[in-house]
């Protein structure tokens, strides 16, 4: 059950047309090495589920700039002008989702729920095409679960069982995406032996993590 994987092995995982989730908030907490491995895989028509498309040359931005992405589901695309340009040019399909709703949809996908009943977006364009459910006289949008074939996470530290600890504001979407994909790959700064992480301090249990890529090589 060795979970540690090389960059070449990461690259070989990606296929055209895949749906990929990646952690990060404006690039902070984005696994840059995994994004780079994905770029090297030369895949296309990717559907990308991310909080934002970061910047042209960092975060998940290079996947957009290099034309690998067919559709983005995100809460914010404003810091990467290439996302906006491709969207207006009709090259890229963009689904904008309020950030809290995006988090809930990923959670629903990872935790077996049928959807989310949120007040966010009621009375705005966000409600278009969505079912509205009234509970005790108040309207909520039914927002559907999101899942991916692969989730790309960034953590600070892992043990060899895949138990993860995140660092500061680099945590963001990573812990929730760990539940919502068929294959979960994490990029970490360091790997320690099993038993070296206090079970009370684990932020994502190792059973959710399939592969560990160590930044700058391992062990």
């Amino acid at each position: 059950m060795d979970k540690i994987i090389s960059k070449e092995e990461v690259s070989s995982i990606f296929k055209d047309g895949m749906t990929i989730m990646a952690g990060g908030f404006m690039g902070v907490g984005t696994p840059q090495g995994l994004v780079s491995a994905m770029l090297e895989a030369e895949v296309k028509d990717i559907t990308l589920i991310v909080n934002d498309t970061a910047f042209i040359e960092s975060g998940v931005g290079p996947l957009i700039s290099n034309g690998r992405v067919k559709k983005v589901i995100a809460s914010h695309i404003g810091t990467n002008p290439e996302t906006g340009r491709q969207m207006i040019a009709g090259e890229l399909d963009v689904e904008l989702v309020p950030q809290g709703t995006l988090a809930e949809r990923v959670r629903a996908g990872g935790s077996g729920l049928g959807g989310v009943l949120t007040p966010t977006g009621v009375g705005t364009v966000v409600e278009e095409g969505k079912e509205k459910i009234t509970v005790d006289g108040r309207e909520f949008l039914l927002e559907k679960p999101l899942r991916a074939e692969v989730a790309l996470l960034k953590a600070y530290k892992a043990d060899k069982a895949g138990n993860l600890i995140y660092h500061r504001s680099a945590r963001n979407f990573n812990p929730l995406m760990a539940l919502a994909a068929d294959l979960v790959i994490v990029q970490v700064e360091q790997v320690v032996e099993i038993g070296e992480i206090d079970p009370d301090e684990v932020m994502t249990p190792g059973i959710l993590v399939d592969k560990i890529f160590v930044q700058g090589g391992c062990c």
Binding site: P98, G100, T120, T124, H167, R168, R171, N174
Partner: protein, 218 residues
Amino acid sequence: MVSTQLNSKQIIAARVAKEMKDGDVVNLGIGLPTMVPSFLPPNVNVILQSENGYIGLGPLDGEVDPDLVNAGGQPASILPGGAFFDSLFSFELIRGGHVDVTVLGGLEVDAEGNLANWMVPGKMIPGMGGAMDLVTGAKKVIVAMEHTAKNGSSKILEECRLPLTGKGVVDLIVTELAVFRVTDEGLVLEELQDGIDLKTVEEKTEASFKISQAILEN
């Protein structure tokens, strides 16, 4: 404090600061709202929530940690007593009413408390980020904006024309000219900023509004 002439944004931020109570949990939008803390009196400490995953947002205090940024992606710090969490929990706090006050900019606000501040059709659309959740979930929503657009037209309308960020969500509007409260019976002009007369506000405000007893008696 040396008395100096404040510009429009400072006038707005200073007035918004008066809405804060000691211990309030506050989420500030990007831009003007981030100026609010510098106008808080010394006995009022607020706790800033950063939507990207923590309580206790502080200014950058020297060392840049690439893993620690504010909601605008800028290097920041966390104050003693702060706590990190994931995006899910961050929006549980926001949507669940655990944020006392949010202060956001506005493109348009109307008499029903509708707010439009996230997109202009035909222009580049940045996305709503966390704004829709914030205006839906925060206990008190303050719009802090200049009274008129660059072309001089009123940003306080009878009815918003731009796509909404939230419907019926705004509690208070603070501009460099005036303060309006949104009530069940529409807008109420609560205060005139220093040196501003009622006529100026009436001329620059498209929406109809009632005038508070305090102003009428003045």
